[in-house]
């Protein structure tokens, strides 16, 4: 009798405990987890660069109520975490009727530029305005991103006149640089190395490799000739094939060396242009009211 009563009491108290715990989490925490508080906490995290956690807070609020400024911050968070593809999608969610629409469009362009998606960037800029005139800042971004694509450059005068006075000299420099990038010819390197072993490598500015190739080919050719003259035919053939191995490898390698050299030329050009454009903040206005 006593034991059953004890059991009952135990069960009852467990039940009460569970109920209270539930109510605690459901109601009492509400104060800290209310939408208002979540937004405040999210803003704090956002400004501390703790973007992933900020996104969690904003997302939670967005489940029940739409708020374009939160959406803008979510997109910015992805952008700052360098997840550009996701940032682009999030910026696109802001609708035309929003006050942040203009800013979010700018951020879309910036995001496309950062993810090196110049083709889409130029397409989107062209489609952005119903009017025939593209706003000046977008024209700047569009033109400078053309420098980063492998397409024919438009005529110089029109291309450059779009830019402001301060940027014109630099852009003109880039234009000339891009117009005639100092590429070298793989075919020429191949022919050079075929005639004088190693010379194609020197042409590709791999002087050490060129001299090494010359010495290796020369040494084994000398040994082969020497052996044949002394009628050691078998070792003569051995050395000839080693010499041929180095000779052929060098002719082949001269072409690839020039290709790698050219890739470096392109890389350095692109880097300079990107540094310039990023230095100009992609010619776009900085978004306002994010953190003070």
């Amino acid at each position: 009798m006593v034991t059953t009563r004890l059991k009952l009491t135990a069960q009852l108290s467990t039940l009460i405990y569970l109920l209270t715990i539930n109510s605690l989490f459901a109601q009492n925490l509400d104060n800290l987890l209310s939408d208002k508080n979540r937004i405040a906490f999210g803003n704090y995290l956002f400004c501390e660069h703790d973007y992933l956690r900020a996104i969690d807070e904003f997302d939670f609020v967005l489940k029940t109520q739409w708020d374009d400024s939160l959406q803008f911050k979510i997109a910015t968070s992805y952008y700052r975490m360098m997840l550009f593809d996701r940032a682009y999608i999030e910026f696109k969610k802001i609708q035309v009727n929003s006050l942040l629409f203009k800013q979010s469009q700018y951020e879309q362009y910036r995001t496309l530029f950062m993810s090196n998606n110049y083709v889409l960037l130029q397409k989107v800029i062209d489609n952005s305005t119903s009017k025939s005139e593209i706003p000046l800042e977008l024209l700047h971004l569009k033109n400078s991103s053309i420098l980063l694509r492998d397409i024919q450059l438009p005529l110089k005068n029109g291309f450059i006149s779009a830019f402001g006075k301060d940027d014109r000299t630099k852009i003109s420099e880039f234009y000339d640089w891009k117009y005639d990038l100092p590429y070298k010819s793989p075919a020429l390197a191949t022919i050079m190395s075929a005639i004088i072993p190693g010379s194609g490598k020197i042409y590709a500015e791999e002087v050490g490799d060129g001299i090494t190739a010359f010495l290796l080919t020369g040494l084994f050719t000398y040994l082969a000739v020497d052996k044949f003259q002394n009628n050691h035919n078998s070792s003569g053939w051995l050395y000839s094939s080693i010499a041929a191995f180095f000779y052929a490898g060098n002719v082949y390698g001269s072409a690839t060396a020039v290709q790698n050299y050219n890739a470096g030329i392109k890389f350095n050009f692109d880097r300079e242009v990107k540094i310039f454009i990023n230095d100009r903040n992609q010619f776009l206005p900085t978004p306002k009211h994010l953190c003070n």
């Binding site: 209270t20 009492n28 925490l29 104060n31 800290l32 906490f41 956690r53 969690d56």
Partner: protein, 271 residues
């Protein structure tokens, strides 16, 4: 009973924060460290008083430490330290910073902090605690000899002293392996137990040595130089490099076996 319920529903802010703390603690307990940090940060954000500054920063640091994010852990331990309420908290935090440094393998920093803490809080910390963590620092620095000396200061029969001694005695001498292969090719490999590799190294060196000398003797100087420089020196160099490498690898295996024991079976306090 009813009053009990009512009292919980109409809680004030202080109780709310206390609830938030226990929620964060429960996440910490269930090892959801990333989420726990979020909740500790929330706690800190909403508590205006300094009541939670020490405990939440300390917990955040512990979370980072458990996730092996040692730089962040040390950053938050330092924040906690400036917010600590009493000497014991400060000492605890400093010891945690030292232990995190040990795990991060910034051993020199750990050792210098151990020295400082001893001077900073005289008579507050057991000398055995200092010795114990110094020993661990040396262990993770692969300095088993010095580690043994530290544990010996605590107790001559300390289990970690026994371990350190046995690891130290098992280790191979890298210099001996290298030098012996310098003198007789392959002998260093025999010392580390890599017999096959030793025999083959010896074989190659005899072959190329013979061919080089033979070329010079039979007046084929160019070939002699070629074989000597391209092949003989290459394999001779490979021979003592291998002896050295084998010794280093064996030593690494021995250390790793001990580290595995420490991670899985050792029951004492760990950094």
């Amino acid at each position: 009973m009813f009053a009990f319920f009512i009292s919980f529903i109409s809680t004030n802010k202080a109780q709310n924060l206390e609830m938030q703390k226990s929620y964060a603690d429960s996440l910490f307990q269930s090892e959801r460290f990333f989420d726990a940090i979020t909740e500790y940060k929330r706690l800190q954000f909403f508590s205006n008083s300094e009541e939670y500054n020490y405990s939440s920063n300390f917990k955040i640091a512990l979370c980072y430490k458990a996730g092996a994010k040692y730089d962040d852990a040390i950053k938050y331990f330092n924040i906690a330290k400036t917010n600590s309420n009493n000497v014991q908290d400060s000492i605890n935090t400093e010891l945690q910073i030292i232990r995190t440094n040990i795990l991060r393998r910034t051993i020199p920093e750990a050792l210098s902090l151990l020295k400082q803490i001893d001077e900073k809080y005289p008579n507050k910390i057991d000398s055995s605690t200092i010795n114990y963590w110094s020993g661990w620092a040396y262990i993770l620095n692969d300095d088993w000899d010095l580690a043994s000396k530290e544990f010996e200061k605590i107790n001559n029969l300390h289990p970690l002293k026994t371990l350190a001694d046995s690891v130290d005695s098992e280790k191979y001498s890298v210099t001996f392996a290298k030098v012996s292969s310098f003198i007789i090719p392959g002998s260093g490999q025999f010392y580390t137990g890599n017999y096959l590799s030793g025999i083959m190294s010896l074989g190659w060196d005899i072959l190329w040595g013979y061919l080089t000398i033979n070329a010079f003797v039979t007046d084929r100087a160019v070939e002699g130089i070629l074989i000597g420089s391209l092949l003989w020196t290459r394999f001779y160099k490979g021979n003592f490099q291998n002896a050295e490498r084998f010794a280093v690898e064996r030593n690494k295996e021995i250390s790793n076996k001990a580290y595995q024991y420490l991670a899985k079976k050792y029951i004492g306090e760990k950094p």
